[in-house]
Amino acid sequence: MSSEPGPKSDPEDTAIELKNPALAAFLAWLVPGLGHFYQGRWAKGLLFSVSILGTFFLGLFLGSNAEVGPGRVVYVSRDPFRPHYLCQVWAGVAALPALYQYRQFSAGKSPGDSPLGRFMWPPKSEPDFRGNEADHLNLSLHRFFELGTVYTMIAGLLNILAIFDAGAGPAPILEDPKKTPSAEKTAAVTSAAAAVAATSPDASPSSPAAVGAGLGPPGGDAKTREKL
């Protein structure tokens, strides 16, 4: 089984007009797929948009219920530090309300003071277990807290791939030079030419045999080909 499934990259595939790659990459971060729309790569843009935003919002949905409020799996917290947001933030503008909510939270406001309510509101951390809202989120959402967190994190991480695709085009699939048919053919041709050179006293890269073996000068010699 090869390490890279699927067809090899077509050289035509990589001939893509990336327009302004930096702007495309920024747009791809801002809204998944937007960078590809800007480049006119509509099908891929739609694929990235639906796949990544769908996963992110499905994760938000899993991390919601009537008791704790909507979207409680995406939030910023410094104490205790929540590293998950470092993955979620790559989903772009969809994850940015968490930063706004954290600013509100840090200013001592309550969810009622925020126009977004409890959406992405960071849980209040208390030394006492009974007052720790993060634990309450886990208890209330049960396994959906982790599932929603994983979904939103994976959406953000996948968008990193999409950002690179918008900025630099599809990554080429590297082939093993020892296994490619073209390499085998080149090796056979080289050995044939070497054999010819050993037997023919006037063997040179432009000799008929060498040209016939594919090692002649570029463009070939019409007369020589006729002789062969």
Binding site: M1, E4, P5, G6, P7, S9, D10, E12, D13, T14, I16, R41, A43, K44, L47, F48, S51, I52, G54, T55, L58, R143, L147, V150, Y151, I154, A155, L158, L161, A162, F164, D165, G169, P170, A171, I173
Partner: protein
């Protein structure tokens, strides 16, 4: 209490449903970053999805076997 292991197994299997959307999405997005044409993307994603599913199935079977060893 006899039905408890069956109930737990059913719950465990039902949770695997949540892996399906991730397998599809990861396969599609990864393939789309390696190919440009849609037919190549779909072909690549299908093979990758099958590989991921096979890998998950092997890991799940291994973990189930280890669980059976520990609890049995």
């Amino acid at each position: 209490m006899d039905g408890l292991p069956l109930f737990a197994a059913t719950m465990w299997l039902s949770d695997l449903i949540y892996a399906a959307p991730l397998v599809v999405v990861v396969s599609l997005v990864y393939a789309a970053t390696r190919q440009e044409k849609m037919e190549h993307i779909l072909s690549h994603a299908t093979r990758l999805g099958m590989m991921i599913t096979f890998f998950l199935a092997v890991i799940s079977a291994l973990l189930s076997w280890m669980d059976w060893l520990v609890s049995g």
